[in-house]
Every structure is written in structure tokens, then in C-alpha cells.
């Protein structure tokens, strides 16, 4: 356990910019934007999205707010907060993809592999520490950022509503459940497992290929083309697309929307065949990574 914790701490020290600073900076920027909007300092409206208080001038919206029951408010708040947190999740996702592609390639390139392997840590433990970091630890690091953003957004909105006599200050807080934090962490954990095959593939490419980007893209491109030409199907591309998206898209119709997924729905993912296909594929790739890392001894001075 001490070894695993040490290995994970090392990764966080090395990749603190992508895993710790970047999501925090994004959180701060988003928080500032929201505060500015609610306190009338700015108003962002583009064709793609808008951050504005103008909607609260709409009669229909005001009427809905005055009459909505607790469940309806909760649903709307959840939806808004999920969308709000997406840039943070996206930032970490990009950091994870970059990390996965480079982690085994870089240690070979800068020859630190020699030092790491001179210590009593097995290749399997090293690989698993990186997998655990991505699937288990990073969601825990992302969570405080999401919570911070949530609280700042809700507090700003509450002050805005109260000072403008739209609804009372407690309108939001009565509908906001702090158990949602558990919901978020479970969703992030399950999402990490859902996307694990992609991460494992990138790590695998970094472990075996001299040029990891080429190693990651070329075999996939070849197989996709061959599949298209020979079988006239598109399964591999669809698989990649699925794993890049939210795991909830694979759930039954009534749960299709991420916004209503609850902790109690998570077991549904474990019932899907797709999930287990991904886990099996990931396990095979992890085995491959361990194999290639253990064979990377091309650093003899002779």
C-alpha cells in the first residue's frame, strides 16, 4: 500500500500542472465569470451558449420559478450544474489523454526508466499505480473543484434572486442535496472505468511505440479502414466514439439523460455487456503495457 501511495504521489508531483493546477484555474475562471454575470459586471451571449441574467426578466421563467416543486427545481439545478462542470471535466480529460500517451514513452526517452526500475517496484505495480491514479484518485481531486464551482454558482444565484426579489434566498438551497457530491464522485469513477480502454490503449502505444502518437493512431486507422472495406461495418469507430462520450448514453431510454442519473442507477452500467467488453480489453492492454515495459531494456551502454 505504501508503495502504491508513493507511486501515485510521484505521478501527481510530476503532472501537477495538468491534474491539479489546470482544473483549479478553470474552476477559478468559471467562478469569476459566474460571479461577474450575477453581479451585473458582464453578460456573455454567443450563438453557442449564454451566461446572462436576462432570462430572469422573462415572465414565463419567473412564473415557473414561483410555482415549481422541489423535484423540478432539483432537476433543473442538477442540469445546470452538470453543464457548468463540463469544462473542468474536459480539462482533466485532456490532461489524462496527454498523460496516458506520454507516461511510458517519456520515461524511456529521458532514461528515468533505468532509475525507476533499479528500485524494488514491479512493472505491474507501476502500471497499476497509473491506472488507479486515473480511475480512482483524479475524480477525487476533481471533485473539490466541482463542489467549489457549484457552491459559488449557487451562492451567487441565491444572492441575485434574493436581492432582485425573484425568489427567496433559500429557494435553491432547499432543493440542493449535498449527497449530490457522492453522486458526482460515483459518476466520475464509473466514467473513468467506461473510458479506460481508450486510456489503456494510449498507454500501450506509449509503452511499445517510438512515436506514441503514430503508435496510437496508425493501427487504429488501419483496422478501421480494413473493417470498412472487408466487413462494411463501423464497430471500432463507434466503440471509440462511445468511450469518448458519457457511459450513460448506453443506459436504457429513461436514463439516457446524464442529468437524472443517480447513484442507484450506477449498477446499470455493470449490467451492460459493453462495460465488461471494455474492462476485458483494458485488462489485456494493461498486460501488454507490463510486458513491453519489462522488455524496455534498450539502454545498455555496450
Amino acid at each position: 500500500m505504501k508503495t502504491l501511495a508513493t507511486l501515485i504521489r510521484r505521478e501527481l508531483q510530476e503532472h501537477k500542472v495538468g491534474f491539479i493546477y489546470a482544473p483549479f484555474i478553470v474552476t477559478c475562471v468559471l467562478s469569476l465569470m459566474i460571479i461577474s454575470v450575477y453581479f451585473g459586471l458582464t453578460d456573455i451571449q454567443t450563438p453557442e451558449f449564454s451566461l446572462t441574467t436576462e432570462i430572469y426578466e422573462d415572465e414565463q421563467a419567473l412564473e415557473w420559478m414561483a410555482t415549481a416543486d422541489s423535484n423540478q427545481i432539483t432537476s433543473v439545478i442538477r442540469s445546470g450544474l452538470v453543464v457548468l462542470a463540463l469544462p473542468i471535466i474536459l480539462t482533466v480529460a485532456i490532461a489524462i489523454l496527454a498523460f496516458s500517451l506520454s507516461t511510458f514513452a517519456d520515461e524511456r526517452k529521458d532514461r528515468t526508466l533505468i532509475f525507476w526500475r533499479s528500485l524494488p517496484v514491479s512493472d505491474l505495480t507501476t502500471v497499476m499505480s497509473k491506472i488507479l491514479l486515473i480511475t480512482l484518485i483524479l475524480p477525487l481531486i476533481v471533485l473539490p473543484n466541482i463542489i467549489l464551482l457549484h457552491l459559488i454558482s449557487l451562492l451567487s444565484a441565491s444572492i441575485f434572486f434574493a436581492t432582485n426579489d425573484i425568489v427567496p434566498f433559500g429557494w435553491i438551497w432547499n432543493a440542493y442535496s449535498f449527497t449530490d457530491w457522492f453522486r458526482i464522485i460515483f459518476i466520475l469513477w464509473t466514467q473513468s472505468l467506461w473510458s479506460l480502454p481508450l486510456v489503456a490503449w494510449l498507454m500501450f502505444a506509449g509503452a511499445f511505440a517510438k512515436r506514441p502518437i503514430m503508435g496510437a493512431l496508425v493501427p487504429i486507422a488501419v483496422v478501421v479502414v480494413l473493417e470498412g472495406v472487408i466487413l462494411k461495418t463501423n464497430y471500432i469507430l463507434e466503440f471509440i466514439e462511445d468511450r469518448l462520450g458519457f457511459w450513460t448514453s448506453g443506459l436504457p431510454e429513461q436514463n439516457e439523460d446524464l442529468r437524472v442519473v443517480d447513484v442507484s442507477d450506477i449498477y446499470l452500467m455493470f449490467l451492460t455487456q459493453d462495460f465488461w467488453i471494455g474492462i476485458t480489453l483494458s485488462a489485456l492492454l494493461i498486460g501488454g503495457i507490463v510486458y513491453f515495459r519489462s522488455k524496455n531494456n534498450d539502454y545498455s551502454s555496450e
Binding site: K2, R9, I114, R117, S118, P120, N297, Y299, E302
Partner: protein, 291 residues
Amino acid sequence: MEREFAVKAKGVIKSYDNSRALDGIDLEVRSGQVLGLIGPNGAGKSTFLQAVLGLLNTEGELEVLGLDPRKERHKLLQKVCSITDVAVLPKWMTVEQVLQYVDGVHPRFNLEKARSILSLTDIKNHSKIKTLSRGLVVQLHLSIVMAIDAELLVLDEPTLGLDLVYRKEFYSQLIEDYYDGNKTILISTHQVEEIEGVLSEAIFMNQGRIVMKDSIEAINERFLELRPNQDSLERARSLNPIHVRKELGREVFLFEDIEIDKLSGLGEVRPPVIADLFMAIMERTKLEGQQ
């Protein structure tokens, strides 16, 4: 229980495509020895040391501290330390982070001892490794290794690229502060003259084979070098030296298994330095190969 041999190798072979980096290595290294692996580039020194560390798969029998390095590498590395290259400490880390890391993964690492050793150097704990000079990086690596209670230390060209001062410091620190007579040390280096004083045994390697292996004591008894007086040249030549080299215009004769009495009076007699002996043995091996 004290182990008689730290390393036992029998018929160890490492093949790459059409060549053999190790071509049937037979070797027994007694515990507590400081063994030098001496040979030109491509001799197989690093390959053998990597095999000892379990970093390479080899054919033949290989036992290190009673373990098979190919199958029990993880267990073995708890008892073995190595410096296989000077440029491998992660540059992004601070000195303290490296110490904490090794402390977290190595059960035999003594963090306080490492800090105490480092406090005697110019290395600051908060310094990033990328800001340290090459010499200081080696010193840091050696400090880490010295704080590990290992039975076997493997040094593969540990001072490569260092200037003379750091090279000297490295070996003097290694022997004075680390070597306690119980630890076994395997060193491979090109700078033979610098390790000569610290070795208890030497192995000469060439083309994946051991050309000669002996204790320094036995080498000094077996080989003698003569710088003959001008009038004793012919007499010296008639005693069948195994090698003749020129030094500042004077011929120097190397003899094997000769009584010192036969040479006394012919000139200056002394044991050869390892580097010169190595050159002589290599030339002899080359000639034997041509015949």
C-alpha cells in the same frame, strides 16, 4: 546465514539476432568482494550487469544472492542497489522528493541517513535535480545508494562523463563510507586506473567472454613488469615476456608466472597496473584468436 557467493553464473548466454553479447559466462563472486569488470566497448560488461539486476533475460544458470534475477527481480532489488548511469535521476524532481520516493518504495532505505550524508555536501534538499551539476547528481545518487542497506551494489560506468575530481571523490566516498567488508560490489568502468586501488578482484572481458579472472593479490603475484636497464634488454627478452610495450621510448616487459629472483638485477621490477595488464592480455587473446 552468511552467503558464500553473491553471484553464481554458469554458461550464461545473451543473444541478439546473429551476435552474442554474453557467450557462456562462468563466474563465482564471493560475498564481500569488490569486483571490477574490465573490457572494451561491446565486451559484455553492461549486459552482464543488467542480467545480474534481472533487467535482461539470459540463457544458462544465474543466481544472485540466492535468487534467480529473471524470476525474482522484485525480491532481488530489495537487496541490490545499482547505479547504472549518471543521467537517470528524474530532472523534474527535487532532492527531497527523490528521497521521499525511495523511502516509500525501498524497505531498506534509511531516510535520515541519506539526509545526513547529503548535509555534508553542497546539495540542498529543495533543489531541483535539473539545477544540479552532473557531479552533484552523481553525488546525490551515491548518497541514496549509501543509505540503502544492500548486500550487493552494482555500478555500471557510474562516473561516465564526470571530471577527474568528482570521479576520485566518488570512489573514495564509496570505499571509505560505504564498503564495510560484508557488501559485495560489482563495478564496470572504462577508467580502469581509477578503480584499481579499490578492487579485490578483476575480470577481463572481451566479446562476451571472460578472458581472465583473478584476485588483485594473485594478479600481483602472477604478473610482473620489468623496465630493464639498457644492458639487460637481451637477457630480459630471452626470459619470454608475454608482452612488450614502449613507454617514453623504453621497452617494458610483462612476465607471467616468473620468479622475481630471475628479474632482479635486470632493472626495475613491479606488479603491472591493471590497465597495462588488460592491454597485454587483450593483445595476447587477439593473437591466439588469429592463430
